[in-house]
């Protein structure tokens, strides 16, 4: 009996100890993870891959705890003390200085516990295909289905008619014969012919008119681009301002297409996108000659231009200046370019016709506040129009020579 009791006692003590250690240990790792996420992720990955600094997988095995704490507390002091490993790593990473983190001893042991035992990342099954929304059928598909249904109905009706006729012992006729007979009957009446011709003429004229009016108007033009860049992800979800990439909209006639170095401001360190994985971002690397594994530019690489397809294009005989509209006019980009931050693939939103320009110039009031350069002119205008709203056409916004010269 006593033996049994001892065995039980031992078992209970051991199990209590075991579970307690699990809980304590779990706490440590959790706190360590918090510290890691708040301070480390800007420069380190939990894998072996290099970011700004080295990947941290297995770092606790490579270096002993005391050394790591010294390094994290003040890496420059460790380098200055002549520590060989510290100097080696400083040189390897292009002398980028790590920030000094003066954590408490407890925080250090939590952090190192986390680094030694990072939780296994859950593999999230890519839902790329599922996220593509079913946007419903296009108009042409619907029309096609209706046409097919009608044709089927004609065939059905004729076959019903034929079977009825056979039942009555009359002569049957094929679909084409039926149609030809009906057609002959219809054409024999002059009023019918006149009516159909008139309708045909009107429809034809309208078609030709629309065709001619559509020449040079490329609204909704949505070409495929060499890189599947998503404005929805960058400008919408990530909230990057239009001006961040299209910087020259504030300075010049053109709202420039960003050169690849602007992409690389972030994509030096983000080589996997949320939608297309590494496939599309790799095309930037291909253009500029960047090796995502070593995170270094390849020396002597012949860079290739990315050939974006131009969407917004004014004729050569019309002058348009972005900075004039964005800076002096204070327009939001979306007023002409539409909800770009919702466009997965960019398309032309506005007509960009002369009528469209002039309509806006007639309706838009001149922004006079915060525009010191024109104070004198603005005062004169206010004097002249006395309280009436001053629109762009009143300051010459519809004069021919303003845009055509």
């Amino acid at each position: 009996m006593t033996i049994n009791f001892r065995v039980y006692f031992r078992f209970i003590v051991l199990s209590v100890f075991y579970f307690a250690s699990i809980f304590l240990y779990a706490d440590n790792v959790e706190n360590g993870e918090k510290i890691y996420k708040q301070n480390c992720t800007a420069c380190h990955l939990m894998t072996k891959a290099r970011l700004v600094g080295p990947g941290l997988e297995g770092v606790t095995e490579k270096y002993e705890k005391e050394w790591l704490i010294k390094w994290i507390r003040n890496s420059q002091a460790l380098i200055a003390s002549g520590d060989e490993r510290a100097i080696a790593i400083f040189e390897e990473y292009d002398k980028s200085v790590m920030t000094s983190f003066d954590f408490s001893d407890e925080e250090f042991s939590d952090l190192l516990a986390y680094l030694a035992n990072p939780p296994v990342e859950e593999v999230v099954v890519s839902s790329g295909v599922q996220t593509v929304e079913n946007q419903g059928m296009s108009n042409s598909t619907i029309l096609m289905i209706i046409a097919l249904v009608l044709v089927t109905v004609v065939f059905l009706l004729v076959s019903v008619k034929n079977s009825l006729k056979t039942a009555l012992g009359k002569e049957t006729e094929t679909v084409s014969q039926t149609l030809i007979n009906k057609y002959k009957l219809f054409v024999s009446n002059n009023i019918n012919v006149l009516f159909i011709s008139a309708v045909g003429l009107i429809v034809g004229l309208k078609f030709v008119y629309d065709l001619l009016m559509g020449v040079g108007v490329t609204t909704n033009y949505q070409p495929a681009q060499p890189i599947a860049f998503s404005h929805e992800i960058h400008a919408g979800i990530n909230g990057v301002d239009c001006n961040y990439c299209h910087t020259s909209a504030r300075h010049s006639k053109h709202s420039g297409i960003p050169s690849a170095n602007v992409c690389m401001n972030c994509h030096t360190y983000i080589s996997e996108g949320s939608k297309y994985g590494t496939k599309e971002i790799a095309k930037i690397y291909e253009a500029v000659g960047f090796d995502p594994d070593s995170r270094q530019y390849i020396e002597g690489y012949e860079q290739k231009p990315i050939e974006w397809v131009r969407i917004h294009n004014l004729p050569d005989h019309a002058y348009f200046n972005h900075s004039q509209h964005v800076v002096a006019g204070g327009l939001e980009c979306q007023e002409c370019h539409g909800p770009v931050e919702e466009m997965e693939v960019l398309y032309q939103y506005s007509e960009l016709t002369m009528g469209w320009c002039i309509e806006c110039h007639r309706e838009t009031e001149v922004k006079m506040e915060g525009n010191n350069y024109y104070t004198h002119l603005h005062d004169q205008l206010k004097e002249k129009y006395k309280g009436k709203p001053i629109t762009v056409d009143m300051i010459g916004g519809i004069e021919c020579g303003k845009c055509h010269y």
Binding site: T41, S140, A147, V215, G239, H251, Y269, D316
Partner: protein, 190 residues
Amino acid sequence: MRNKILFIIFVSVFISSCSNNGAGYEYMPNMYRSPSLETYGKNNFFSDSLNARKPVLGTIARGNLSSFNFDGSLEGYLLAGKEAINPYENNSDNLEEGKKLYAMFCKHCHGEYGAGGGSITHPVYSAIPHYNDDELLRRCDLPMSQLTAGHLYHAITYGLNAMGPHASQLTEKERWQIVLYVQELQKRPK
């Protein structure tokens, strides 16, 4: 029967071939298309075929002579921190402009008040140091809240860690205006 099937296939191909992927027709292309080279076009003249050219190496655009002559190295950074002087004064115009530019170029990572929480949530850009932090020592042995104008300007110009260089996107004046605004954010109480 075969004719009917062929007819249906023909109609489906005909209808589905309509799409808006072509730019369409234009009147008088001679007046529409520029005979001179457009900014983003191609040419047969230069070996890289780009119409957009870089300024000739070693030249400086009129009015753009820089007062900031420090390189991108750690030494350059430390020296800039000690010696660089902001040529623009701290007045309401410059601060207002700096704030506007900050919203365009910095806010999505650094957050509205330079304390993180921007709209970009990627892990690499989540551990953002706070401008008003006075504890963690950065590479110049100073915490964020005590970085000088030179340090800030150097970081914007040459980049730092996961932040890329922004020299191509901002003029010198704009960078100094942002520095003025960031220095205001450094003083924000925690």
